[in-house]
Amino acid sequence: MIVKILGGGCANCNRLEALTKEVLDENSVSYDLEHVKEMEKIMSYGVMKTPALVVDEKVIVSGRIPSKSDLRSLLIK
């Protein structure tokens, strides 16, 4: 799957990135992860709260860091 973290490099954005990697690795999902920092691109997803998580071009989390189990159920279908 293609995973994008949207956020200008703040501490919470990095936390979300680390947590996402952790969940995907633990469930042996293969993925491409990109950390999008350009405002133009972030805004093109219609997101006003960072950090946000985009999976296959769909925003699934914005403005919060989910718990690990929450994120697992969002990512692993």
Partner: protein
């Protein structure tokens, strides 16, 4: 509200540490433990409650509301929504661009950008712990008034030309806002408590430690003379000192609590608090991505003047 804690710490000070609470060292020890526990309880409870409420007011919703208002009503609504909309400095740029893209006037956007950081749950909880309900509510009201007036003034100065051109070209995409479950909202609130406490606890302990020393040892007459309501420069000096400090520095507010016991003005303390939260260098650096230095200058000047006037006002009336 915290008489039980006061009594408990008095017992601790007198029976465990064998100190008289009326002595200098005893009153310092009492102040330190009492304030630390009280503020940590208030901070956790307030952040949790307010974050939970805020999960119902995402900026996307705020934006939709603001599109409906114009003129001063727009500024007032923007400031009021600034109280409840979750705001972390890392979101200030997307919120700014989102508002501009939706055609919300810049003056209204600035009302939001001024009030939102001033009125935050950590500042509210610490003020509540140090000075009580009246001062905490006055602080919120002042934050709204400074936001409304500041936004109106900035709007009158025709700031559109000071916004970076690329901002006007950004097209916002559409996305369905997330529907959160109760469990997700509660976790969001809990995570905020953890995040904010982790950022401010050290500053808070240092602030309470210094506050405790002042409480027990600082001579009243000297402080009242230098930083009391009668010193015409006290408010200006505390505002200027606060600007380069990041909002974590609001942990130092217990110093002000101790100082007020020694006769400094409460307006001086409120001005310090507002300036640490609303005007910070990291915030300016972030804003520089979307607005030109001249508008940042105007923004800082207008807000500083507003804070200083508020400080003097409260030194006179309280």
């Amino acid at each position: 509200m915290f008489i039980w804690l006061d009594n408990l710490i008095t017992l601790l000070t007198e029976n465990v540490f064998k100190l008289d609470v009326n002595s200098a060292v005893g009153s310092s020890v009492h102040f330190f433990f009492y304030d630390t526990i009280k503020i940590i309880i208030l901070l956790s409870v307030m952040i949790f409650a307010i974050s939970y409420l805020r999960s119902y007011f995402p900026p996307e919703k705020t934006k939709k509301h603001l599109e409906k208002f114009s003129g001063i009503t727009g500024n007032i609504m923007a400031s009021l929504l600034g109280i409840v909309t979750p705001f972390c400095s890392c979101s200030s740029i997307p919120i700014f661009i989102g508002f501009v893209e939706a055609g919300i006037p810049l003056g209204v956007t600035f009302s939001f950008l001024i009030t939102s950081p001033i009125v935050n749950e950590a500042a509210f909880a610490i003020l509540l712990g140090s000075f009580g309900w009246k001062v905490a509510l006055i602080y919120v009201a002042s934050g709204v008034i400074i936001g409304v007036i500041g936004g109106l003034i900035i709007g009158k100065l025709k700031p559109e030309k000071y916004v970076e051109e690329y901002v006007y070209k950004i097209k916002m995409g559409e996305s369905e806002p997330e529907k959160l479950s109760q469990k997700q909202r509660l976790f969001f609130a809990f995570d905020n408590v953890r995040d904010i406490v982790k950022r401010v606890w050290l500053f808070l302990l240092i602030g309470i430690g210094i506050g405790a020393l002042i409480h027990g040892y600082a001579p009243q007459e000297i402080l009242a003379k230098w930083a009391g309501p009668d010193n015409p420069f006290a408010v200006i000096i505390s505002t200027v000192i606060a600007v380069p400090l990041y909002s974590n520095a609001l942990g130092t507010i217990p110093i002000a609590e101790a100082l007020i016991g020694k006769g400094i003005g409460i307006g001086t303390a409120l001005a310090f608090m507002m300036a640490t939260t609303a005007l910070s260098l990291p915030e300016a650096i972030l804003l520089k991505k979307v607005i030109k230095p001249k508008l940042i200058g105007i923004f800082f000047t207008v807000v500083s003047i507003g804070i200083i006037i508020t400080g003097y006002f409260f030194n006179i009336i309280l």
